[in-house]
Amino acid sequence: MEKISHEITLFAEPVFHFGSFTVTNALVTSWFAVAIIVVLALALRSKLREVPGKIQSVFEVAIEGALSLCDQVTNDRKLSLKIFPFAISVFFFILVNNWLGITPLGGFGIIEKGEHGLAFIPYLRSGTADINGTIALAIMAVLGANIFGVFSVGLWKTFNKYVNLKVLGEIFTKLRREPTIIIVAPITFFVGLIEIVGEFAKIASLSFRLFGNVFAGEVLLVSMAALVAYAVPIPFLFLEILVGLIQALIFSILLVVYFTIGASDHAEEHEGHEEPAEHKLASV
């Protein structure tokens, strides 16, 4: 009988196809995550009472805590309330995906003939253990932050963060009063252009951080299970539960930071010498 390999791949394995669209196990897990969140949301909606029950109380405490954490980053309750729905959705989506990836249900799957013989392909692989999932979230976070910035401070100010035409214009208006502006303005303009690269770096860092952590966790669990089955992976399983929670939290907080930066007016910030949101995060 041919040996079945339990090879861990860097990419999500295809489970079935819809025409030209390949459905991967990570996508299936994401659908499960969506279904779980939808069911929980509907269950919560049906149980909402003015005098809260146990489930509602837990949710209220969690949401109040998350909102106060959000406040520590934004320093503004109104801004927090605007960003919060997006951040908490990202948090739950990533959390459920992370935890689904480490459930024992990953033992269910199909056996396919691959390049190196028969290979086991699990039906469930965390949506965040596939770079496509994390890239999607990262793009939405960065794009969302910029769109939020447009709605908060306006299109012109958001555009000037990247292509700082305003500072170039100041060369002509402020040259007599501040001769140094002829050096400072091109540098500021160039810094703005670097910000564009920074936005892509944000996408890369967000997506690869989450993917790397979750994928490494899954690799760790499979390796431990392959070395000494059943008993040894259990502590690592708990560790991965914690890692899943922490990664979801990190992604969400970073999203709040990006949204806060997007909603802040750079010009006012520099004039008012306000503490940037990244520094605020460092103090959290």
Partner: protein, 154 residues
Amino acid sequence: MDSIISTFHIDWKIIIAQAVNFGVVFTVLYIFALKPLNKLMQERSEKISKGVEDAKQNEELLKACRADYDEVIKKAKNEAYVFSEKAKKEREIEKSASIENTKKEVEAIIQNGKKMMEDEKVKMVEDAKKEIVSLTMLATEKLISSKKDLNDLP
């Protein structure tokens, strides 16, 4: 870039599918959980803050009522003291007036009694005088008559 895409099997269709998944999660969570829950929590916190505000107002009202009550009681006590002092004074005046009147009346009664006694004394002396005169006259008459009888004797 191509090597990254091929190594990680980056597929824009799956990226879109995952984005749609997240969109569904966001929409459902926002509509069915976060919005109603937030509304409920806000309403509750408004009720609580209103309750606290009402309690504060009631406390202030109670304080004001207590202050009014104390003021009224103090005023009433002062008024009562003034009335009592006035009544005492009036009573003292009435008492002294009444004593004065009584003294005068007693004096008048005594004077009247003395006068009546004097009159009575004078009347008695008069009566006694009259009685003495009549007795003297009677005795004189009897003496005269007895002398006459002696003279008639042989």
